[in-house]
Structures are given as structure tokens and as C-alpha cells.
């Protein structure tokens, strides 16, 4: 890291967190996600990956230690699209702007239209979530995440519920968005291939048993070149990295 440049990514310093009345999920957890990078977090289910994401988002506060995040807006993409079913797509995307308040109505409309355009849903602005496929709903969720021009994107297994085809399409959408917007991203996934395909680094979390805090057992830089293409999925280089990660779990 260059001296004199303020760190503008995500940092965990000695973080401890446990749900009330339960043993801590992590203890003395430290990690760094440099600004503008995509970092994936993989690990067995239940070891606290989602919780880690929520700490990064500021939805939870650590019991000890500190979490720092980039200045600017944060966005969260949930496992399920979490669109409000009574709102049209456009109104759903508008929600973050409404909550922030102070946004001029016309500016909001422009931002919404732009966000929908970026994910290819411009023509579906007036549809209700009910009328959309899983892939389209996920894209809408991404559009909503983008509408505030976030500097930090947190994604919790966003593509897990989609079929293979939709997933691949959304990988492309996500990478394209990242290239355009330049946000820092922390992506939790259980799909190791996906983690390698999308990210610059992969963090591996593993738990050593019931009641024992999870730890970062691995921090692997993904040396594959960008832009990442679908063909890389068949590339033995990807496979090698993936297998290496699997060993660490």
C-alpha cells in the first residue's frame, strides 16, 4: 500500500462479533479489501460469511475491534431480490433515493432510468415483480443497488438461486457494471468457481467446530487476466485455483 494515500477500502481490525447469548462467530478478525477490488468470501455455510458482510455494511456493530468502509454510499444485494412486491420495478429502484430524501423528483426519475438501463431492464420499468423471471428480478436488485452510485457493493450469494444460464448472464452484467462504476465489492458465495471467475482475491473462512470462532484460513489472489470471459470456466488455470481453495476449506 502506498504511503500517504488514505485507505479507501473495507478494513476489519481485530473484530469480534457474536449473537447475543451465543459464542462469538469471529474473534480478532482482520482483513483488508482495497478500493476498487472485487473480493470474494467463500466458506462452509454457517461460519458467518453473511454476518461478515453485514458488519461491513454497518448493519451490525462489532463487539470489539473496528470496521471501516469507503466514504460514499453503500449498497447491499441480498440472496433474494427483496423487491417490494407492491411497487413497480421503477418504484423499487427508486426506494433508496426516497429514503435518502432531499432528492429532486426529476433527478430521481433520471437516476432510476439510468440504473435500469445499465442492467437492461429499461423497457420493464412499469412491470410488477410478480411478472418477472428470477434473473430479471436479480438484475432489478442490482439496478436498485446502483441507483445511489455506491462506492461499496456488498453481495450475499446473489446468484445462488438462479439457474445456470441466468447465473452466467448475470456474471457478465455484474462484471460490466463493475468495470463502468468502479465500486469496491465484497461478494459472499458458496460457488468456488464463481468466486474465482469474478474476483481479484478470494478469502477463505473456515470454522473449526461448534462454539469456536471462525477464522480466515486463506487469502488467495486470483491471477487470471481481466476482462474475465465465460471461456475461463473451462480454463485449467481457474480449476487449479479453485481446487487450491477447496483444500483450505
Amino acid at each position: 500500500m502506498a504511503e500517504g494515500v488514505a485507505f479507501d477500502g473495507v478494513a476489519f481490525d481485530g473484530v469480534r462479533f457474536g449473537w447475543r447469548g451465543e459464542a462469538p462467530l469471529f474473534d480478532e478478525l482482520s482483513l483488508r479489501v482495497p478500493a476498487g477490488e472485487i473480493v470474494a468470501v467463500v466458506g462452509a455455510s454457517g461460519c458467518g460469511k453473511s454476518t461478515l458482510l453485514r458488519l461491513a455494511a454497518g448493519l451490525l456493530t462489532p463487539d470489539a475491534g473496528r470496521v471501516t468502509a469507503p466514504a460514499g454510499e453503500r449498497a447491499f444485494v441480498f440472496q433474494r431480490p427483496t423487491l417490494l412486491p407492491w411497487r413497480t420495478l421503477a418504484d423499487n429502484v427508486r426506494l433508496p433515493l426516497e429514503l435518502a430524501g432531499g432528492a429532486d423528483a426529476r433527478d430521481a426519475d433520471d437516476a432510476v432510468r439510468e440504473a435500469l438501463g445499465k442492467v437492461g431492464l429499461a423497457d420493464d420499468a412499469d412491470k410488477l415483480p410478480r411478472a418477472l423471471s428470477g434473473g430479471m428480478k436479480m438484475r432489478a436488485s442490482l439496478a436498485r443497488a446502483l441507483v445511489t452510485r455506491p462506492t461499496l457493493m456488498l453481495l450475499d450469494e446473489p446468484f445462488g438461486a438462479l439457474d445456470a444460464l441466468s447465473r452466467r448472464a448475470l456474471h457478465a452484467v455484474f462484471l460490466a457494471l463493475w468495470r463502468r462504476e468502479g465500486f469496491t465489492a465484497l461478494l459472499v458465495t458458496h460457488d468456488i468457481d464463481e468466486a474465482v471467475l469474478l474476483s481479484d482475491r478470494v478469502l477463505v473462512m473456515s470454522s473449526r467446530g461448534e462454539g469456536v470462532p471462525a477464522t480466515l484460513s486463506g487469502d488467495v489472489t486470483v491471477t487470471l487476466p481481466r476482462p474475465r470471459t465465460r471461456a475461463l470456466l473451462h480454463d485449467p488455470a481457474l480449476g487449479a485455483i479453485a481446487r487450491g481453495l477447496e483444500e483450505m476449506l
Binding site: A57, T82, L83, L84, L95, L99, A100, L128, P129, R130
Partner: protein, 249 residues
């Protein structure tokens, strides 16, 4: 074919009624023909009475809705208020109206206010229950979404919980609407002075001079009123709720 089934059932019921009316004196069970004749010749007064009873039950329903919804929001805001007041809400449900109706007459005088009050009393609890369940019928992720974007408790209520509660509310309304008609009529049994005419008063008056044809006609008008109100709720539901409800998010 399935459209004909309710009609066939109605025809069978009519036949059964006619058969029974041959067995019992008219003072107990008038024949369908007599009810039709009495109902037709007295239709002006019956219609006027139905209108007045309808107004009372609508008024009661509105009050019940306001209190029920407010109660639900209040209980959401404060757990200990819920613990303190819920038993009294339950008490409202269980108090027999015929017992308190005379007291209501003392407080409110003869006329519509008594019927509005009794209608409100019976319709209150289903709406409160629906509000209670509905306001909490949101997913954790939806709440997190709004929290992330800095929504205040009120914004969360207005933008998330209230719209989410509408399907439950309509479900409660479907029950409450029929109850409000019954509640109004019971109130009229004790608190109506016949000017303006009400269904409760007509039932009382006609049965006391053994004019059971009119009594039953009044009962039919009451049933028709309840059905019409139910239909109105269903219509509103089909416009406001059905288009977007049922999407699994």
C-alpha cells in the same frame, strides 16, 4: 356447469324451506311466498331500513378499522404497551353486546350512535389481529434493506410494513364486514327508536305482532347487505391486492 351449482343449491334450499313451512305455523316459519309478498309490499321501508343499517355498520367498520390499525401500530412500537393492553383488546371481543347495549343507550341516546358503536365493537378484534400479523409479515431482508438506506421507524412503517400488511388487512376485513352488520342490528334491537327505520327495529317490531313474513324479509335484506359488503371488499381486494400479491420473494 359449476356456475349452476350455487343456483341448484339455492333451489333445493327454497324447496326444503317451503316443505318445512307447511309443517310449522306461519308464526314460527312463514312460507317463501309469504316472505316474498311481504317483502315486496314493504320494500320501501325495508330498503330505507337496510340503508340506515348499512350506514351504521359502515361507520362502525371505519371506527373499528381506525382503532384496529392504530392498535396494531402501537403494539408494534411498544412491546410493553402490547403486553399491557392486549388483554383489554381481547375483553372488547368477549363482552356480550346485549349486556352493554342498554348502557350505550344511556350514554348515547336512542339512534344510530348505539348501532355504530356495537358494530365497531364486534368488528374491532379481527382487524386488530390482522393488523398485528400483517405489520410483522415482512422479511428480515426487507427490514435490512430499509435500515441500510437509513430509513427511520416511521419510514419503515409507511413504506414497508403498511403496504405489506394490506393483504392481511383485507383478509380481516372479509370477516369484519359481516360482523359489523350483525353488530349494528344487535345494537338496533336495544337502541333504535324506529325513526329512521332500521333492520333491527323492523325485525323486533314485526315479530312482536307475529308478522313473521316481514321479519324474515328483513332478515333476507340483512343477509343481502352483508353479502354486498363482502362483495365490495372482494372487489377492492381484486383491484388493490391481487395484481401484486402472491409473489414469493
Amino acid at each position: 356447469m359449476s356456475r349452476l351449482l350455487p343456483l341448484a343449491a339455492a333451489a333445493l334450499l327454497l324447496l326444503a324451506w317451503w316443505g318445512l313451512s307447511l309443517k310449522y305455523p306461519p308464526v314460527l316459519l312463514p312460507s317463501p311466498l309469504e316472505v316474498l309478498t311481504e317483502g315486496w309490499s314493504g320494500r320501501a321501508k325495508l330498503l330505507e331500513a337496510t340503508w340506515n343499517t348499512a350506514l351504521s355498520s359502515a361507520g362502525g367498520l371505519l371506527i373499528a378499522g381506525a382503532f384496529g390499525m392504530s392498535g396494531g401500530i402501537l403494539f408494534l412500537r411498544s412491546r410493553w404497551l402490547e403486553a399491557a393492553l392486549y388483554p383489554y383488546a381481547l375483553l372488547v371481543q368477549t363482552v356480550p353486546i346485549v349486556a352493554i347495549a342498554p348502557l350505550l343507550v344511556v350514554w348515547l341516546g336512542y339512534g344510530a350512535p348505539v348501532a355504530v358503536t356495537t358494530a365497531a365493537i364486534v368488528a374491532f378484534f379481527p382487524i386488530l389481529t390482522a393488523a398485528n400479523v400483517g405489520l410483522r409479515g415482512v422479511s428480515e431482508e426487507q427490514v435490512e434493506l430499509l435500515t441500510l438506506y437509513g430509513a427511520s421507524w416511521w419510514q419503515q412503517l409507511i413504506k414497508l410494513r403498511l403496504p405489506a400488511s394490506l393483504p392481511y388487512l383485507f383478509s380481516g376485513l372479509r370477516t369484519a364486514v359481516g360482523l359489523s352488520v350483525i353488530g349494528a342490528i344487535i345494537g338496533e334491537f336495544v337502541g333504535s327508536n324506529g325513526a329512521p327505520p332500521t333492520l333491527g327495529y323492523l325485525v323486533l317490531q314485526s315479530s312482536r305482532s307475529a308478522q313473521t313474513g316481514t321479519t324474515f324479509a328483513a332478515i333476507f335484506f340483512a343477509t343481502a347487505l352483508a353479502l354486498a359488503a363482502f362483495g365490495a371488499v372482494r372487489l377492492a381486494e381484486s383491484r388493490l391486492i391481487d395484481p401484486w400479491h402472491g409473489d414469493s420473494q
